[in-house]
Amino acid sequence: MAEESISYQGLVCPVPLSHNDRIVLGHGSGGRLSHDLFNKIFLPPFNNPILHAANDAGLIQLSDQEGISFPRLAFSTDAHVVSPLFFPGGDIGKLSVCGTVNDVAMIGATPLFISAGFILEEGLEISVLEKVVQSMQNAAQEAAVLVVAGDTKVVQRGKADGLYITTAGIGIIPPGINIGGEKAQPDDIVILSGTIGDHGIAVLQARDELGFQTDLKSDIAPLNHLIQNILLSSQHIHVLRDPTRGGLATSLNEIAQQSKICIELEESKIPIKPEVSAACEMLGFDPLYVANEGKLIAIVAPEDAEKILDVMHSTRYGEEASIIGKVKAVPQSRVLMRTVIGSTRVVDMLSGELLPRIC
């Protein structure tokens, strides 16, 4: 790394500073600091091809034994620490099931079984836990998955923020399906299943941090049925990804890097609810970086794009789907955007935490 070999101290700006020695909140933002953590801390010791693929779920192919061939499995895990526990449109329980269901589904798998680990803070009201667990079951029922294993730990009061949930999920990838972040090709079409930023802004509102009220709800939803439907309609779906933390911009950058292609967006085509837009204007956020929990990006062959869009429109969570851009060969690993006034700019990954502006 350049930081280690060249010392610019004194030559340029005064204070080199890096967060190499302690975890800061930005490491959990889903943006570049999270990627740094994955690439520098987690990937080297665990190094294996499944993890290396860096998709939402790991794809496991067991070798055939004694003439029996095993199906390909998708396996994923997701930790949930949202505050507050309940917010418009959902709660930590629904989030914990949908998050893992969606991660498993994003490589084309049918999610089947979920496990859940609970870290509970001493003093948490049992009624709160009951409510969260019921919400998990409702989401599991909708997604047609079973919660089949779990674990509970309790920590002293003050050592956790009420309740954390980690879920893991497993699913089967039907034969003939090959979906991954590295499979986008030039001329492919980029489809987004609906409006962006709803979850992030709904949670901020629930924290009373907006200073005004809207009717906005989080978009949390299990997307596996939508995915099943589009997979039945087309053999040419190359990439699926849910733009959660870090938002649409960060997910598209990940795909552009994995596939070594360029994604060109049309700013005017990206669906955004007026209340999300207003909240972002006031706080100085760019909705491209605000979290979603019930949306997906599909990158598909051009000849099937309209058909897939039509199928999405007919599903509960894809009514507002739209084509937002296309894939080009160059510049590699970049996301560009045609702005509403006709210029082109780079869309970068989220770096660090999303912070409100000053004035």
Binding site: G10, H19, E209, T339, I341, P356, I358
Partner: protein, 361 residues
């Protein structure tokens, strides 16, 4: 969105760009004062759409960028105190002091909280009577009224565990410093619309006259910016040097006089160090003696902290429009938003961050 999408209308922007093209006959250098304007220019790629004769250089109007190393070190010292809840606008947490930033203080156990308004800090003070709550009052004239109000509110509500680390800066002295520099290249200014919403634009009249330079009060949407640029170019081409208002939907000559009264009640002019630029006489606001009880520098005895920065850092030259971010050898290589070497790369209003985020040239 009403009153916003209209100002992003491509056909209107194109029409004004066409008019700029028609009017301009020779090269001109225009500075947009405010970092918010710099970001809008880069975000909408306006620089690509302007005729090549027009060069935009980026001004010092990024409050995070110009807050001195010394004040950040004072903030870090106060925030590291176990009895303190240190509150700040979010951006400020990432700016490096000498060796640490406020995020690091938080990661090491300090109670550092992001607030959206100083009035939130007052609430925190009321909820935590056994703690000292300090608000980092940074910013130009725009944030000063709300910051001043928080002290009046603290006084009214008898919130005694509240104080403010004041780092206010003013635009006109910074403009005068740029104009009087022998290296100055700026031939016209887009004045910062939000600052003028509070202060009006009467303060700029003597500057325009003394330095014979056009100053156009300009907003932040694409249409506002091209309109401001057009009016500046029209003046330059006609050898006029006036103060004009292209943001009249919000700005008046006198500005918000009630807000100005609150500012005058709380603050007085004082010398202020600007990061990368140095000390500019009477360029800041400090708390008046009458309100010194709420002065965090006095309450926490950090007045003696002094920090000097490297004279070789080019952030100061960038903030004065003398050089561009990509002329720095560290830009985009070892200096990135995740690992900023200077404040102009840190702040969401900083010029280097704007270049990095939207163009990565």
């Amino acid at each position: 969105m009403k009153y916003l999408s209209e100002y992003r209308e491509a056909s209107l922007v194109q029409a004004i760009l066409g008019e700029i093209q028609r009017v301009v006959t020779k090269p001109w250098v225009i500075m947009e004062i405010c970092g918010g304007q710099t970001h809008a220019i880069m975000r909408y790629g306006l620089d690509q759409l302007l005729p090549p004769e027009i060069e935009l250089v980026h001004g010092p109007g990024c409050p995070v960028c110009v807050t001195s190393l010394e004040l950040i070190d004072k903030a870090i010292s106060i925030a590291s105190n176990p009895g303190v809840i240190f509150t700040s606008y979010g951006d400020m947490l990432r700016v490096p002091g000498t060796g640490r930033d406020l995020f690091s203080v938080r990661a090491s156990g300090g109670d550092v909280r992001v607030v959206y308004s100083p009035l939130d800090a007052i609430k925190i003070a009321q909820q935590n009577p056994d703690k000292e709550v300090v608000f980092f009052a940074i910013g130009f004239e725009t944030t000063a009224p709300a910051n001043a109000m928080s002290i009046l509110q603290a006084k009214d509500l008898r919130v005694e565990n509240y104080s403010m680390l004041v780092s206010h800066v003013r635009v006109p002295p910074a403009m005068e410093t740029i104009l009087s520099s022998p290296e100055n290249r700026v031939q016209g200014f887009l004045a910062a619309g939000h600052v003028c919403t509070v202060m009006g634009y009467w303060e700029y009249l003597p500057l325009a006259q003394k330095y014979h330079i056009p100053i156009v009060v300009t907003g932040f949407e694409p249409l506002d910016l091209v309109q401001g640029i057009l009016m500046t170019i029209q003046q330059l081409e006609a050898h006029r040097a006036e103060v004009e208002n292209a943001y009249s939907r919000l700005v008046s000559l006198k500005g918000n006089t009630e807000a100005q009264m609150v500012i005058t009640e709380l603050f007085m002019d004082c010398d202020r160090k600007w990061r990368g630029i140095g000390s500019i006489p009477l360029s800041g606001w400090c708390l008046r003696e009458k309100y010194s009880y709420y002065d965090a520098e006095q309450r926490f005895s950090v007045k003696q902290i002094t920090s000097e920065e490297s004279p070789l850092c080019i952030a100061g030259q960038i903030l004065q429009g003398v050089r561009k971010p990509f002329e720095c050898s560290a830009y985009g290589t070892i200096c990135t938003p995740e690992h900023p070497l200077g404040a102009t790369m840190v702040s969401s209003e900083g010029a280097c961050a704007a270049y990095y985020k939207y163009s990565q040239v």
